[in-house]
């Protein structure tokens, strides 16, 4: 049933692609201009809807990669070879094209500088996307808060935002990478999956009550959250977001 737009309702709007940025061989960032964007908080996401000529529609949810302070809304999309939506977004979309989306959505997996910290972010693969928004927000408005990102990636080539993460580290964020599948011979950072020993090194002790955000594939998120709770962190201090192919 058609329903008129009501203030506060979530309505679909058109976003114009102003730029496309290759992040890795598989990931691309979409820089969007939205005429009717009411702002967002770091960690929120949008739903993107594609409509085929025959009317078939597919919806997917993507984390917002840009900070509230940024001019444009950015999404970073990982291409899934058997995906219905992501190959179009990464391969077919061109600057000037329009994309239908709604948002911002979600109020749970959100960090605002006023919440303080310490801020601990644990990313598995493209789970780093909402943390780019949080770290940009931190750089703009929260640098007095200790912030640490532990980012688990298969290889160095799969690391999204590598140069920007280096700049954020220069600004005072503690950015640590672990490579799980292969690493350069001279690799100085962590190797292998995040295990309890590494997590204990990286996480602040429970009595410092870090705000913990975990984003990644389901297995990664659950392993990290369970280990932190076993270490004595309060479940209420740990926020999780699992990603995977979703849709309607």
């Amino acid at each position: 049933m058609a329903r008129a737009a009501i203030p506060g309702r979530l309505t679909w709007q058109a976003g114009r692609v102003v730029d496309l940025v290759d992040e890795t061989a598989r990931c691309k960032s979409l820089v969007l201009e939205l005429a009717d964007w009411r702002g967002h908080r770091a960690g929120q996401h949008v739903d993107v809807r594609l409509t085929a000529e025959d009317g078939y529609q597919a919806e997917r949810s993507y984390s917002i990669a840009s900070a509230p302070e940024d001019t444009h809304v950015e999404l970073t999309v990982a291409r899934l070879d058997d995906g219905e939506v992501s190959p179009y977004l990464t391969d077919e979309l061109r600057p000037g094209d329009e994309l239908e989306l709604r948002g911002p959505i979600g109020g749970y997996f959100v960090w605002e500088s006023s919440q303080g910290g310490p801020l601990l972010m644990l990313a598995g693969g493209s789970g780093v996307v909402p943390f780019r928004a949080m770290l940009r927000h931190w750089a703009a408005d929260g640098r007095d808060v200790p912030a640490r990102l532990l980012y688990s990636s298969r290889t160095l080539e799969d690391v999204i935002y590598r140069q920007e993460l280096e700049r954020l580290a220069d600004d005072g964020a503690d950015v640590q990478l672990t490579l799980t599948n292969q690493w350069p011979d001279d690799w100085q950072e962590h190797r292998g999956r995040v295990d309890p020993k590494l997590l204990a090194e990286v996480a602040w002790p429970p009595h410092q009550r870090p705000l913990v955000y975990i984003c990644g594939p389901t297995g990664f998120v659950e392993a990290m959250a369970e280990t932190l709770v076993q270490m004595g962190h309060e479940p209420a201090q740990i926020k999780t977001e699992r990603f995977g192919p979703t849709g309607t």
Binding site: M1, I6, G8, R9, L10, H45, D47, E59, S61, R102, G103, I105, G106, G107, Y108, F109, P217, T218, G219, K239, T240, E241, R242, F243, G244, P245, T246, G247, T248
Partner: protein
Amino acid sequence: MDALDGNAIAGPLFEHFGEEMTTTVGTCAHCGTRSQIAELVVYTRAPGTVVRCRHCANVVMALVPIRGELRADSSAFRMEQAPDEP
């Protein structure tokens, strides 16, 4: 396929209830566990979406699109400050 969490259905729930829902707290009618919607277990690949309690794994919500409109049965998740059903 791995289960997701309530963040994955934030859009459809907003569409259905008319407000942001992922931080809404409710109680599982089966086991009494209190949680936020974002913390629930979500399966999106069933016909429709099935939402389960993370503690007891019983179904607490089901979302099914019927002719373009989302029907939601959330009777087994007793929400505190639940919005009015549309």
